[in-house]
Amino acid sequence: MSNLIEIKNITKLYEMGEEKLYALRGIDLAIEKNEYVAIMGPSGSGKSTLMNIIGCLDTPTSGDYILNGKDVHEMDDDELAEIRNREIGFVFQTFNLLPRSNALHNVELPLVYSGLPRAERLKRAEDALINVGLSDRMTHKPNELSGGQRQRVAVARALINNPSIILADEPTGNLDTKTGEEIMGLIKELNNKGNTIIIVTHEEDIAKHANRIVKIRDGMIESDKKSS
């Protein structure tokens, strides 16, 4: 059967002068549509590097990466930008919203880069914000929103272009436990609606929301377990 993500023997080498450092030493990973995967590992394990490669922010030194039938590992910067725009929705630990733009504009931004006309962008952005429960916060700027609200804006932005995968990097890292649980509930809901979720975390409590936990250590997969 065809996988949404197919990673074969990926390595990532960082060269700092004479010193060579392998962040990833041959990762094989296949993820199907509508899976909910948590990638875990201590800091320095290579999980961030793996996430950057899955998110097409970075390219592997060697190995193959096929995302949604597209051969991604040899694309140039602009092709990768387009893949990020259409196939991937990011949710970051620090939210990464544009501080000077209001919620609506932050959410519509991926559609600007897809080249959609303004009227359609606004309609879809409004719908997305209503979906994450922020119908009364559309014209607020990030600094006028709470942490949980900001992360909801980020989730709305991640969903706006109907991406193949939602990639969340420590999405609750900057939130208190209660708000974190709310966001995890929201993400779970997205998974129930058919979205494929990949979440990167080092917290067991967060990882247990997922249906599958991939543990990374020293640039290699340590374990890959599906929970029921």
């Binding site: 930008a81 990464n96 501080p99």
Partner: protein
């Protein structure tokens, strides 16, 4: 269209960035403001001087050749000029007889005289002797009355056409036509008043003169003066042919051998223009270079601010790249931002320069800021904006998304 949407988005971002740092943007654009003010004022001044020059030589007539003893702006050795013969009525008659390309030809000769009307005196008035064709040769219009006729001209009648200065001195409130004035010691009847001519290069008044029939002039003041033969060409575009033709007629009448140098001058308005351009072109170039320096300094200031702006917004660039902004998009965003800052400077500069040009117009010299200077000013500021923004924008575009997302 994608690019259009990106440009629109970039303009919005640029507007936000400029308004978020109002003071910084104003200071950054100050150099451009000064530069554009200087360049447009310089250009406006040049336009004004050119206009003034054109206006002041218009009376010379673009399509008229003046055959005279000397060239107007001769640069040859004195030896070349020393033994020249006077231009005579015989020369005039030959030209008139043989020319094919001239429309009208008239001789003229002049002398300074004192005019008298009743007990009023007017000293140092230029008295011109010519034929009735003088009027059409130089395209003179009459304010009042008429020019003298060919019959009056050939018969040497004591009639005179006066300039506006003479009219204003003698007949401020009365009709001069038919009145008798004294030119020197001889009485003349006024037949007409010549329309105001202004002055040549702002120096010599062309209205402080009177014109009488040349035959009368010779009788009163003698024939021992060199004439000017004024030739109006049929076709201004074939002025060179007329010049050739008149030259060869003159050479024939004077029996100058083949290869011998002309012993007369064929003058035209273009002689003024050539000399003027030689004198002013270097000044203009240097002036524009110096004023352009301030633009260059200004754009260095913009480039500096843009580098700061890019550095400051590393994280923003990372976010934009993560959600799908391409290199081109980021490049465009910062280029448009620097262009907008520069255009802003251009607009401010122009709105400073415009009132100054009005003040110059009202006080120093008649000038106007032509529309093309306005557009040139805006275009120049746009060009400098793109130049100043290019390297910072290029830096921003090639940032690595992972590194810039991590930047705090």
């Amino acid at each position: 269209m994608n690019l259009f949407i990106e440009i629109k988005e970039s303009i919005i971002i640029a507007y936000q960035a400029v308004t978020a740092h109002k003071m910084r943007s104003m200071l950054a654009t100050l150099g451009i403001v000064i530069g554009i003010t200087a360049v447009t004022l310089m250009q406006t001044a040049i336009e004004g001087i050119n206009n003034a020059f054109e206006k002041s030589i218009a009376s010379v007539g673009a399509d008229v050749l003046y055959i005279q003893k000397f060239e107007w702006f001769g640069r040859e050795d004195f030896e070349y000029y020393r033994n020249r013969k006077d231009i005579t009525m015989q020369n005039y008659e030959f030209i008139k007889k043989y020319t094919q390309t001239a429309d009208v030809v008239s001789p003229s000769v002049g002398s300074m005289q004192t005019l008298q009307y009743g007990n009023l005196n007017l000293e140092n008035v230029f008295v011109i002797g010519s034929t009735d064709e003088y009027q059409s040769t130089l395209g003179i219009n009459m304010e009042d009355g008429r020019f003298f006729s060919s019959k009056e001209s050939e018969g040497g009648y004591p009639v005179v056409a006066i300039g506006m200065d003479v009219r204003n001195a003698f007949f401020p409130n009365t009709n001069p036509i038919g009145q008798i004035i004294k030119v020197g010691t001889y009485s003349f009847k006024i037949v007409g008043v010549v329309e105001k001519q202004g002055s040549l290069l702002g120096l010599i008044s062309l209205d402080n003169r009177v014109i009488i029939p040349i035959e009368k002039f010779f009788k009163l003041y003698g024939t021992k003066r060199s004439l000017s033969i004024n030739v109006k060409a049929k076709d201004i575009n074939a002025l060179d042919e007329t010049r050739e033709e008149i030259s060869s007629i003159m050479r024939k009448t004077r029996k100058i051998p083949l290869g011998g140098k002309d012993d007369f001058g064929v003058n035209n308005q273009s002689a003024f223009r050539d000399t003027y351009e030689q004198l002013t072109s270097l000044i203009k170039i240097i002036g524009l270079l110096i004023t352009s320096l301030s633009l260059i300094v200004g754009s260095v200031g913009i480039a500096n601010i843009m580098f700061v702006s890019v550095k400051e917004r590393t994280k923003e660039i990372g976010i934009r790249k993560a959600i799908g902004a391409r290199k081109r998009t980021i490049l465009l965003q910062f280029l448009i931002e620097s262009s907008i800052i520069c255009l802003l400077g251009g607009v401010i500069g122009l709105s400073i320069a415009f009132p100054i040009s009005l003040i110059i117009d009202a006080t120093v010299l008649p000038t106007s800021m032509p529309l093309w200077v306005v557009f040139l000013g805006l275009f120049i500021s746009l060009v400098f904006g793109v130049l100043a923004g290019f390297f910072p924008a290029f830096n921003a575009a090639k940032m690595d998304p992972v590194d810039s997302l991590r930047y705090e």
